[in-house]
């Protein structure tokens, strides 16, 4: 089984520790993970801004790069939704690429759902006992990839106590370029997200999407709110290192 890591451009450039944790966690589970070095970005920023021609070029590059792997695993629901949902939509009218895009979409998995669905594991030997965790349902993971349970299953199996915020399914305000095109609205949404997290009195806020967490953590820091914000893959890897 050949498994490739699509680390995502944000993790590669801005929070590489997430990439490292992804590799180590998957190796811990016996996956011989590869990293195709030609990878860049899935193209979502261009897509969401309405630049279809540019996005198609990026998508073709991405599709070509990952064509020989059985699975492509990534620590993000948003970039995953781009590949799984929007690539095939984009190429609906070009039969040849459509097939390839659909094929890649079928092989692409967000990391926690790869563990629960493909590896079929719940208990990964992580210890997060007594950690009070609030999980942010990132929009694209939730609505385009139907990821609600996988991260929660793994966290629970590790002994974490999940405290649901009443706005766990509400957007954090990131939205890619939206966050810099309409920064005041975006930041107001991030503050509303923080309010919900504060109500849970959780110690840690986690999610499958680093971009949302970057946005929320950036807002929290400006507002002097002190809650640990950590990607679920990093949290789980930390739990594995803590042992059972």
């Amino acid at each position: 089984m050949r498994v490739a890591l699509f680390v995502t451009c944000l993790a590669d450039q801005l929070f590489p520790s997430l990439g490292v944790a992804s590799v180590k966690l998957l190796r811990h589970l016996g996956v011989d993970i590869e990293f195709p070095e030609g990878q860049t970005c899935c193209g979502q920023p261009a897509y969401n801004a309405g630049y279809l021609a540019e996005t198609k070029e990026i998508a073709e590059h991405h599709i070509g790069l990952f064509k020989d792997y059985d699975y492509v695993v990534l620590p993000s629901g948003s970039c995953g939704a781009m590949v799984k949902t929007h690539y095939p939509e984009m190429f609906r009218e070009s039969a040849k690429i459509y097939g390839k895009s659909k094929d890649l979409a079928n092989r692409t998995y967000e990391l926690t759902s790869f563990i629960t669905e493909v590896l079929d594991k719940k208990d990964i030997g992580a210890n997060l006992k007594d950690k009070r965790v609030s999980y942010h349902d990132s929009c694209h993971a939730l609505r385009y990839m139907n990821i609600k349970e996988s991260p929660r299953i793994l966290l629970r199996a590790a002994g974490a106590k999940i405290i649901e915020a009443n706005n766990s399914e509400v957007c954090c305000g990131f939205g890619g370029l939206f966050s810099v095109k309409m920064p005041e609205i975006s930041a107001a949404m991030a503050r509303a997200k923080t309010e919900g997290v504060l109500e849970t009195k959780a110690d840690i806020l986690t999610s499958v999407d680093g971009a949302c967490l970057m946005n929320i953590a950036g807002s929290m820091r400006r507002e002097n709110v002190n809650i640990e914000v950590k990607h679920v893959v990093e949290l789980l890897w930390e739990g594995v290192q803590n042992g059972n």
């Binding site: 309405g50 929009c139 939205g175 609205i185 970057m214 820091r221």
Partner: protein, 471 residues
């Protein structure tokens, strides 16, 4: 109201600083969302009903010429006078001429977004006809010289404290009047209005082609009075309001109040089929229906946007939208705000003056999930963004930036060097591991109200070289 769709960004900034608006919006949208969720979860076939209603509307829109003809011929058989208007100006001319011809001095109005769209009240006032809004929310706005910010809760942007003060100043109610007392004061004024009105003007929630019936849904009873008490009843409706058969109606009446106000049923449902007959004890002697295009046929002719005409104006997408929740309806600059407004307004007014609206969205997808007729709102918002790019409406810097980004993303070596320069450059701005201020475009915007964690010096791919050999 002045249309200010082109100025969404500035409108929104002002809205975010308006304390009363912020209080009112948080209260109201929270309540609406919670009530809707409860009402929907009491149904075990909501998804089936959504699919059914979506399909009925889609079918009707695809064959609108046929159903409009059927509707109109049934109206005419019932003795209803049917009028058409290509745009708002023509519509207002028809209504004012009718009012003058019939010697109408005062009009009572039921809540109607299409009459807000064409500014009918201003047109009536200009020819000396007094128009009284009888929906409580609309009446509040009329008293204050304000305009709606929500499709079904027009005064949603006002707090009850603001309304108490307004009523005290304009109607002499007590300074600390309760909501019940305020309603009683309004009721007194409105009752007088109903009794003296020469004409009632309503909108339509649905128009049944098969029977020529106008269907109206409400809670206050003001629509029932508007459509039955005055001698003349005029319905003003957009041409997309048609449903084919009476037996389609129950499904819509199941999802509309649940999606809108979170009620299982609205307090009143009126089915108006023709004017008063000889055997009827009451009702209007004369009935008119004015069918308005005003840009709708442009949307109809556009296969990609056509789905937007399914809208039944429940407002669920507004309530759930985190952008709408934060900025309120006025920021959007026209009568239809929120996700559906950002889809419809460019269709009705053109993208030139409205292209900021589809950008007012983080593409979270919540609107598409709640829409009771399954309008693919996120996809349509993206469609508008793509058109804005094609029409050259996007910022020049953005176009160049995205072009460069796409070139780098397809040339990995260049990508690696460029991102490395960016990452190392950012270290100079870093204080305590974070960047707090910068004059660089994009960074500057991000940093307005948020910090930015300084990127790690070594990217993942640089670390991979060691990591690879670790196993």
């Amino acid at each position: 109201m002045e249309i200010s769709t082109h100025d969404f960004k500035n409108n929104a900034k002002k809205a975010l600083k308006d304390k009363n608006l912020q209080i009112a919006m948080k209260r109201a949208t929270k309540t609406f969302v919670a009530k809707r969720e409860k009402a929907i979860s009491s149904l075990d076939n909501f998804e089936e009903l959504r699919s059914y209603c979506g399909a009925v509307k889609a079918h009707t829109i695809e064959h609108l010429d046929y159903y409009l003809e059927e509707f109109i011929s049934n109206l005419e058989n019932l003795g209803v006078n049917v009028h058409f208007a290509a745009d708002g100006e023509e519509a207002n001319k028809i209504v004012t001429q009718l009012a003058l011809e019939k010697n109408v001095k005062t009009v009572v109005k039921a809540k109607s977004m299409v009459t807000e769209e064409i500014l009918l009240n201003d047109a009536l006032e200009a020819v000396g006809v007094e128009a009284l809004e009888t929906d409580l929310g609309e009446y509040i706005l009329q008293l204050d010289g304000d305009f709606p910010s929500h499709i079904i809760g027009p005064a949603m942007h006002k707090t009850k404290e603001q309304i108490t003060k307004l009523f005290h100043e304009k109607l002499g109610s007590k300074e600390d009047a309760s909501i019940i007392e305020l309603t009683a004061v309004a009721r007194k004024v409105l009752r007088k209005g109903f009794l003296k009105a020469d004409m009632g003007i309503s909108g339509a929630n649905f128009a049944v082609a098969e029977t020529g019936s106008i269907v109206l849904v409400e809670n206050e009873g003001n629509i029932r009075l508007t459509t039955s008490l005055p001698k003349i009843h005029l319905t003003v409706m957009g041409l997309e309001k048609i449903i084919p058969r009476l037996k389609d109606l129950p499904a819509f009446l199941t999802i509309l109040p649940r999606s809108a106000t979170g009620q299982k049923a609205s307090s009143y449902v009126s089915l108006i089929t023709g004017p008063k007959k000889e055997t009827d004890p009451d009702g209007p002697e004369e009935q008119h229906v004015l069918i308005i295009d005003n840009g709708r046929s442009n949307i109809l002719a556009d296969p990609k946007l056509r789905d937007a005409l399914r809208c039944i104006r429940c407002g669920a997408c507004l309530n759930i939208c985190p952008v709408y929740q934060n900025v309120g309806g006025h920021a959007y600059g026209w009568v239809y705000p929120g996700p559906i407004g950002s889809v419809l307004d460019p269709g009705l007014l053109g993208l030139d003056s409205t292209h900021q609206l589809p950008q007012a969205c983080s593409l979270c997808g919540a609107c598409g999930e709640v829409c009771p007729v399954k309008i693919p709102l996120p996809e349509l918002l993206l469609e508008h963004r793509q058109r804005a790019v094609k029409q050259g409406l996007s910022a020049k810097a953005e176009k160049i930036g995205i072009g460069a980004f796409a070139f780098m993303a397809t040339h990995p070596k260049l990508w690696n060097s460029a991102t490395k320069i960016g990452r190392l450059g950012s270290q100079f701005l870093s204080r305590e591991g974070h960047i707090k201020g910068s004059k660089i475009p994009v960074m500057k915007e991000w940093l307005k109200e948020r910090d930015f964690k300084t990127p790690a010096q070594k990217s993942f791919r640089e670390q991979w070289r060691n990591l690879k050999d670790e196993k």
